[in-house]
Every structure is written in C-alpha cells, then in structure tokens.
C-alpha cells in the first residue's frame, strides 16, 4: 500500500474514525474529515489519501459497515457505521492510546 503524507500520528486514524462513528452514528467520508477537523479545533486534518483506504480496510475487517445513501443535498454517498467488532476495537485502541499518551508524557516530564 502506498503511504500518504499524514498529519495524524500513524495508527491513530482508525481510533479517530471509529470514535467519530461511535459517537455520531453513521457518516460519510467527507463528513468524517469535516467533523474531525472541527472537533479538533482545526488541529487535525485528515488526508483523503489515507482516509478512504483505511475505511475500506476497516470494512473488510468487519469493524464498520458501509452502504450507499443520499445526503441532505440529495447526493449519493457511502455512509459508514460502526459494528460490534469495531466497538471492541475502539475500546482497545482507546486503551492503547491512553497508554501511549501516558508514556510520552512521562518521558517529556521526567527525561
């Protein structure tokens, strides 16, 4: 797979996507980028080149499901929703993120 330039720390994209889907319910790809950008106060920008491959990978893994639907503007879009396996994955990733953040903070503080 081609690796795209990424503003988001490697490995956290899945976490962010799953979290958004779990919190907001079903969303399409564009709404996800917009949502993450807004909620992070413009701190995080999701690269499209990473987002769509990630969404499809998560779909194959059975974490999310996708279906075609129409937006308010009556455009056809692919909506992603989180599945049970995705929720478990989210819990795991949240825990590991917490550990990582802890670890990094400790290093910054005591190193």
């Amino acid at each position: 797979m081609k690796r795209a330039r990424n503003d988001i720390l490697q490995g956290t994209l899945d976490l962010l996507v799953l979290k958004c889907l779990a919190a907001q319910g079903s969303m399409h790809g564009y709404a996800l980028t917009a949502h993450i950008q807004r909620v992070s106060a413009e701190q995080l920008r999701v690269e499209e080149g990473s987002l769509y491959p990630a969404l499809h990978r998560m779909e194959q893994a059975g974490w999310v499901k996708a279906e075609w639907g129409s937006t308010e503007k009556n455009r056809q879009a692919r909506f992603y929703g989180i599945l049970a396996a995705g929720k478990r994955q989210l819990a795991e990733e949240e825990a590991s993120w917490a550990r990582l953040r802890d670890g990094v903070q400790r290093v910054l503080r005591y190193a």
Partner: protein, 894 residues
C-alpha cells in the same frame, strides 16, 4: 462475507467504479464548501481536486485495501493452519500419507486409463472417424484382405475419405540376433486423411501407393530419435527392413503415435511396397490374407445410419468381386452374405484397450475404494482432533471470533492437508504409472503410452483433493458450530455424560472403513488365489532352462530339401554344444499367443459338434517332446526317417485321442485334414503324447496335432530351436548365435526363455494380485489407525468417568471389556455392510478369476477373521490403557 472478497478480486472494474463514485462525492462536497466561502464554481472545482490529491492513486490504495485485507487474512489462516498442523506431527503425517497414497494411486491408474481409453487421437476431427466392421458373416473380426480394401478404396463409398493399415514387423539387424521393429502397412492416403503433418521431409501421399512402387517409408519421430539418433541426413537415405532396402522419405509429427493406444508404430510403409519388403507374403492379390483394418471419415452432413445403408448396398458388390476362388462352396456362400458397417467407436481398435481395460477398471475400483478409506480416515482423525480442540475453538468463539471465521480456519487446515497430500500424490503417481506400464509391457509386446501428466489428470487430482478437503474439513467445522461455548468451557473436557452420543459420527466412519476394507481384503484374496491357481496350473511341459532360438535362415529360393538339410545340420550343431542336454526344432512354441488350427476328420467318426473337430497344430522335429518334458503315452516319436517323400504321419495328444478315438487305440489309425482347396491329406497316427497348454494357461487342454516338421514341403518364415540347458539357458545365447552363423551367415535369431514366455502370459494376473494385496493391506492399516485413533480419544475423553468407576471398585478387566465391546460393535457393523459390499462387487472381478469362486464361504470367513484380528488388535491397546489407568491421577487432572 469472505466469498464476496473473493468475488471482488475478479470484479475489479465494478469495484473501481464504486470507489470512484465515492471519491467524486467527496470532491463535490469540498467544492460546495469552497463556493460557500466565495470562490467561483470553476476555481472551487479545481481547488477541491487539487486538495484531494491524485484520485487515481487514492483509488488504487483504497481498492488495494480491499484486496490486501483478504489476502492478508488468507495468508494468516494458512500460516496458522501450518503451525497448528506442525504442532500435532503424528496426526499430520498419518493424514498426509493417507491422502498422498489415495490420491497418488488414483492419479496413477487414471493416467493409464486416460492414455488407454479416454484420450482423443491426435488427428484432425477424430470424432468423424469411423471403424469399418464386418457384419453378416460368421465372425466380424474386423480384418480385411487387400483385394477388399482396393474395392472399398476405388468403389463408391459414402465417406469423405478412407484409409487402411495393417501390422508389419521387420528386423533391423543384418544377421545374427534379431532387432525387431514394429510398424504399419498403410494406404497412400493414410496421413492425408488423418491430417497428420510431417516433422521433416514429406509424408506418403496416394501417389506413393500404386502397384509397382519403390519401397519407401515414413518414420515415427520416436524411432528417428531413438534408433537413428535424430540424424537429420536420414531423409533420402536407404535403410534395411529385414534385409530389404527401403528409402526414408520423411519423419511424422511427434504427437502422432499411431491409431491404437499402447502400440506406437516405428514406421509406415505403403501397401504397394509389399513385393519388395515382404516378398514371401504376396498379400496384394491374396483373397484370404486378412490383415488390414479400414477407417472412414464421415462427411459432416451425413448420419452414420445413412452412411451404413449405402455401405450395406455397395459392399455386396465388393464381396462378390473378391470371392476367394479356392474356398469350398459352403464357405463361399457364407462369404457372399458378408457386409460392411461403420462403427463410431474407435475404442474397438485398440489392442491395449481390449487387453487391459478390464484390469484397469478393476484397479480403478480398488484405488477408488482406497481413496474412500483414506478420506474416511482423515475425516476421522480431523474429527478426533476437533473434539480435542473443542475448548480451544470455544475460547476463540467466546473471545469474539466469528463462527464463519473458525469454520474457515478448519477449512484452511483441511485444504492445506489435501494440497500437500495431492502434491506428494502426483509425485507418487508419476512414478507409479510408469512402474505399472513397465509391468504391462514385455519384450515381445512392448506397450508404449504417453503418460505425461495432462490437464485432465491434473483436474481429476485437484477435484479429488478439494472434494476431500471439503468432506473432512467441513465435518469438524459443522460440529464446531453445534458446540455451545459455555458448555465446552464448563464441561472441562470431561464429557462424562454426553461423550458417547457425540462420538457417533466417528464410529460410523470407523465402521465404514472396516466395511470398505473387507471388500478390498476379500478382493485381494480372490485375485491372489486366482493368480496362484493359474500359476500352479499343470502346463504339461517343463519350461525350466529352455532357450528358444527363433531363427530365420532367409532362404529365399532354396528347395524344401535344402531347407530341411540346413535345419538338420543346425540341430546337430546345437546338440553338440556343451551344456545342452536336449534340443529340437518346431514351428511354434507353447503360450506364444499365436495359434494355428484346422479341422481334422477321422473316417467313420462323427463328432457331436462340428467345432469339436477343431484341432491346434504344431510342426515339430524329432526329440521335441523329450526337450519339452512331455511324455509319450503310446506309439513312437518322430525319427530321421520321417522326411519328405515318406508316408505322412502325425502324433496327437491325449485330448485328441479321446475325442476322435474314444477308447480305441489311435496308433495306426488315420486322420484326415484339409490341405489346400478341396483336397484332403491323410496321416497315419504313430504316437500319442501327454497334454500341454497351447494358447493360455487358463483354458482346458486343446486337441492338438503334431505334424513332422521335416515333412513340410513349403513353409515360409522361421523355425524355432528349443534347447534344454543343464545350467542357465541365457548363457547359451552367444554360443548358439555363433553356431547358427556358421551354418548360415545371413540367419537372424530371436532368443526367448521359455520360462519368461510363460511368465509373460501371467502378467495381468500378477499385476492385479500384487496391487490388490498392496492396497488391501493399505486399507487395513488405515482402518486400524482410524480405529485406534477413535478409541484412544474416546477413552481420553472419558478419563474422569473411568477413573471414578475404577476408584469405586470396578474391575479393570470390566473396563477393558467394555472398550473392546465398543470395538466389536463397530467391527460387527462394518463386517455386515462389508459383506453386502462384497456380494455386490465381486461380480466385477468374476471374469478375471480362475480356479476360485467369488462367494466361497471359506474365503469370506478368512477375510473377516483377518479384519477381526486386525481391528481387535488396534482396539486392544487403548482398552488396556483404560484398564491400567491410575484412578487417583485420572481424577486429579482438571
């Protein structure tokens, strides 16, 4: 779900369109946002696209994610399966060996069947070819004379083309020991009609086949490669066929190996060359020399029925035009009722097909049963293993693994086993089919088949492997679904209560294995018994240390007197060789697979059936009976006095004596035989000799007449010298070659050992006996492994239960008896079904049996005992282990 992923791989275009639509939506949304911020629609569209990046590469990355996850999962499954198989090495080795043997044996036999019976001829539109057969007459042997062929060729036949061919054997050596080569006489249009192309030079054309033509030959590619060292300069050169010069005009396509499976001709000579290549036969105009087979090509728009209607009408004229003038009136009338008829089955052509298809079908059935036993065995082992892994599977299901995913895991394991088994099996098959071919071939009748593994064989093997994988991969998977994870985890693998019912399927499998094994063991016993019965037949002659030297003195125009003089001289030389205890000359030797017969008549005696008068004839010299170890029952042997010009005499065997003379003494009586057209010759019986096999060991002794070789006024071809050696017969060969060369430097000699000649007639019997015993033993071994595995596991599961019972004071013998009772139930069920199977299937081998009857009770009982002993032995070990269990230890576990 995962099947859709598999579909995705094949539907990239559709997938691609889907992804493109999704990405387009994203860009459109971004453009809308930019417009809302005051940008012009065109600029917004450009900017949205720019920000998005390269859609093509994103699209690919997105698609790859789909494909990659699938491949990744498959790879992880495979690695996991390989690891878990490697962890239980015993199971894996037994399973793979079972499969490899089952699949290998099936592929080997199927390769042979394919080469002999299924494969199309490598010629243009083989489905249009028809065999022209004879109907209406007494026998439709399917062989024709050259005059009949010329009538068909030049007559108004309904075909798009016709061809004729017949066997031609030549000797490539100038003198001394014969180097035989087998080829074909062919009509000029042979290659043209078949659509065979030339590898080098040119092939024969109708123009090459005109009376008075020079002797030319097309060589087969294999012959050119092997015998002539692929010499490119051979075209236009002359080679000697039995001393007659023949010009090589071309090499045929390597793929063309003749029309009959198993017999690849080395060369092709036009029929018109007979006066040069085989001057003695003179078949071009002989009306009773039957050696040609005729094929036609059916025109596309013509049905077989209408072609036959036309053929029927036309062939009456052809037979009328070729009526043999020297035949008796009765035979002539019969000849005129003969008609030609085309048949669509080219299968009827092949000699190899006829000789071996029965044996191959039996072998195919045997190995198919072995494959079933092997599959049952592997299924059983998988089941036992799945049972043992119930907790592992339950834990995985409880941890959230989808059931589909677990099933897929088990299926991957099954597939991996099957594929490894199949790969090894193909290797075995390659070796095995060549070994089999070697078994079927002999020096005198070489069988050559193209056994390169072709697509059909590969498909067959792959299908077998995949079916097997599905069969025994799915069974445990299906069971895994039914297991409630909670149960599996809490029951702690004790399974005290419900262990028994769960194991029903495994026991059925073991019973099925026992049943199939009984069929195979009984079949093996039958075929082995039959082989031994044939081999033990009293041949009536002694084949030990007898060397046969079939000699062609190539006396083209020597007088009969001179020929017999040379024979006598040669015999005297041979008898003088040290180490030769007896020697004689004859025309035929026993069990040569060739016969010569005629109707004999004794004045005043009418036989109940006309066919009874059919007697088998051989020409022998003095001392023949002593050399062959046959006994003179009455009268005298021939002597040097029985020669041309003396009174005609004959020696008959005991069957002929009983048939023609009943209890009278035949010595001194007269026997008459047809001798040429409408003339009979009378012979005085001077001796009676003991019976001996003539054509085959399987048939009852035939009525035989032995005429003195020295009284034959004319006979073409060869004479066989039989030499009884006091030591090794083979060691005599160089001395015999030298001795005969001194008599006649041009003489060619073909050596055979009589013992080998006899053994060769038994090779199909020996092959079937050997392989059926091998596979029977294999099936038995597999069944024992299956039973052992099932019982060992069932006891391991019930450890706790047995422990409690032992602790409460149950006698160990009782425990082991109970285990053995379970084994006995499986055995009994298996034997019962096996017996039904035996009764249903022995008909298949009936035609091959000699001296044994398929439903002999002693045989069935014997096989059942063998199976019973083997099964109980396999069950005894686990039973003893159960009884010897330490109750404390058993209970302390878990």
């Amino acid at each position: 779900m995962w099947y859709r992923r598999l579909l995705n791989v094949f539907r990239r275009d559709h997938l691609s369109a889907d992804v493109a639509r999704e990405l387009d939506f994203h860009i459109a949304e971004r453009a809308d946002e930019l417009v809302a911020h005051g940008m012009s629609p065109e600029a917004a569209a450009r900017e949205a696209r720019r920000r998005f990046g390269h859609t093509g590469s994103i699209r690919e990355a997105t698609q790859d994610a789909d494909l990659f996850t699938w491949l990744d999962a498959a790879w992880r499954d495979t690695r996991y399966a390989a690891r878990s198989l490697a962890a239980s090495r015993g199971f894996t080795i037994v399973a793979i060996t079972s499969l490899a043997l089952g699949i290998g044996a099936n592929t080997a036999i199927f390769s042979l069947i394919d080469a002999v019976m299924l494969r199309d001829l490598p010629v243009r539109a083989p489905q249009e070819l028809v065999v022209i057969d004879e109907v209406g007459g007494q026998d439709g042997a399917g062989d024709y004379t050259n005059p009949i062929w010329e009538q068909v060729r030049d007559g108004e036949h309904p075909f798009a083309g016709v061809l004729a061919y017949g066997d031609l054997s030549v000797n490539l050596a100038d003198a001394g020991e014969v180097r035989p080569a087998n080829g074909l006489w062919v009509s000029g249009g042979f290659f043209e009609m078949l659509g065979v192309r030339a590898e080098r030079g040119r092939l024969l054309s109708p123009a090459d086949d005109a009376r008075g033509c020079p002797a030319t030959a097309v060589l087969s590619y294999a012959f050119w490669q092997s015998t002539l060292g692929a010499d490119p300069g051979v075209i236009g050169r002359t080679i000697a066929f039995s001393g007659h010069p023949v010009e090589v005009i071309g090499i045929a396509d390597p793929r063309f190996q003749g029309l009959e499976a198993g017999r690849a001709p080395a060369f092709y000579v036009p029929l018109c060359a007979q006066p040069v290549v085989e001057p003695s036969s003179g078949f071009l105009d002989k009306r009773s020399y039957w050696f040609l087979r005729i094929l036609g090509r059916l025109p596309a728009q013509l049905s077989l029925a209408s072609a036959n209607a036309e053929l029927q009408a036309k062939s009456a004229t052809w037979f009328r035009n070729t009526l043999p003038a020297d035949w008796g009136a009765e035979n002539q009338t019969e000849y005129l009722t003969r008609r030609l008829e085309a048949q669509q089955s080219l299968g009827a052509l092949s000699g190899a097909r006829q000789s071996y298809s029965g044996a191959l079908m039996i072998l195919m059935s045997i190995v198919a049963l072995v494959l079933l036993v092997a599959c049952a065995n592997v299924a059983n082992l998988m089941l036992v293993r799945a049972e043992g892994r119930q907790r592992e599977l339950a834990v995985r299901v409880a941890l959230g693994a989808g059931r589909m995913r677990v099933a897929r895991q088990l299926l991957t394991e099954g597939l991996l086993l099957a594929l490894v088994g199949a790969a090894i099996g193909i290797g075995l098959a390659y070796q095995g089919s060549h070994a089999l071919l070697h078994f079927l071939s002999s020096a005198r009748e070489p069988v050559s088949l193209d056994l390169s593994i072709d697509l059909r064989v590969l498909l067959f093997t792959a299908a077998t492997a995949v079916l097997t994988a599905l069969l025994f991969g799915m069974a445990p998977a299906w069971r895994a679904f039914r297991v409630d994870p909670h149960d599996a985890l809490t029951a702690h693998g004790r399974g005290a209560g419900h262990g028994r019912s769960r194991f029903g399927f495994g026991k059925i499998l073991v019973s099925a294995q026992v049943a199939l094994s009984l069929v195979l063991v009984t079949g093996a016993a039958l075929l082995l018994g039959s082989f031994r019965a044939v081999a033990d037949v009293d041949k009536g002659f002694d084949d030990r240390n007898v060397l046969v030297a079939e000699t062609n003195f190539r006396w083209d125009d020597a007088t009969p007197e001179a020929r017999h003089e040379i024979e006598r001289e040669a015999l005297a030389r041979l008898r003088a060789i040290p180490g030769v205890s007896a020697a004689a000359a004859s025309f035929r030797t026993p069990l040569e697979r060739k016969g010569w017969n005629g109707f004999a008549k004794v004045p005043g005696v009418t036989l109940p059936r006309g066919d009874d008068a059919l007697s088998w004839i051989n020409l022998v010299g003095d001392g023949y009976f002593a050399t062959m170890g046959m006994r003179l029952v009455a009268g005298r042997d021939y002597s040097a006095a029985d020669r041309l010009g003396g009174p005609d005499v004959v020696i008959i065997n005991e069957v002929a004596a009983a048939r023609f003379f009943a209890s009278r003494n035949p010595v001194g009586a007269t026997i008459q035989m047809e001798d040429g057209p409408q003339t009979t010759r009378s012979y005085e019986v001077v001796g009676v000799v003991s019976n001996a096999s003539y054509r085959s060991l399987r048939e009852n002794p035939l009525a035989q007449l032995f005429l003195p070789l020295a009284q034959q006024p004319d006979y073409a071809g060869t004479v066989s010298f039989e030499l009884k050696a006091s030591g090794s017969a083979a060691a005599l060969r160089p001395i015999v070659t030298r001795a005969l060369a001194e008599i006649s430097p041009r003489a060619t000699i073909q050596f055979r050992e009589l013992e080998q000649q006899v053994a060769e007639t038994l090779r199909t019997d020996r092959l079937l006996a050997t392989l059926s015993v091998f596979f029977g033993a294999l099936a038995l071994l597999l069944a024992m492994i299956g039973l052992y595995g099932t019982m060992a596991y069932s006891i391991a599961r019930r450890r706790a239960e047995i422990g409690i019972r032992l602790a409460l004071g149950a006698a160990p013998e009782r425990v082991s008896r109970e285990v053995l009772r379970e084994v006995a139930v499986m055995l009994g069920l298996g034997l019962l079904f096996g017996l039904a199977g035996v009764l249903a299937t022995t008909r298949l081998v009936e035609g091959f049996l000699f001296g044994v009857t398929p439903r002999e009770p002693s045989l069935l009982i014997g096989s059942a005992i063998v199976l019973g002993v083997a099964t109980l032995a396999a069950g005894y070990l686990p039973a003893r282990r159960a009884a010897a269990m330490d109750p404390m230890e058993a209970l302390r576990q878990d």
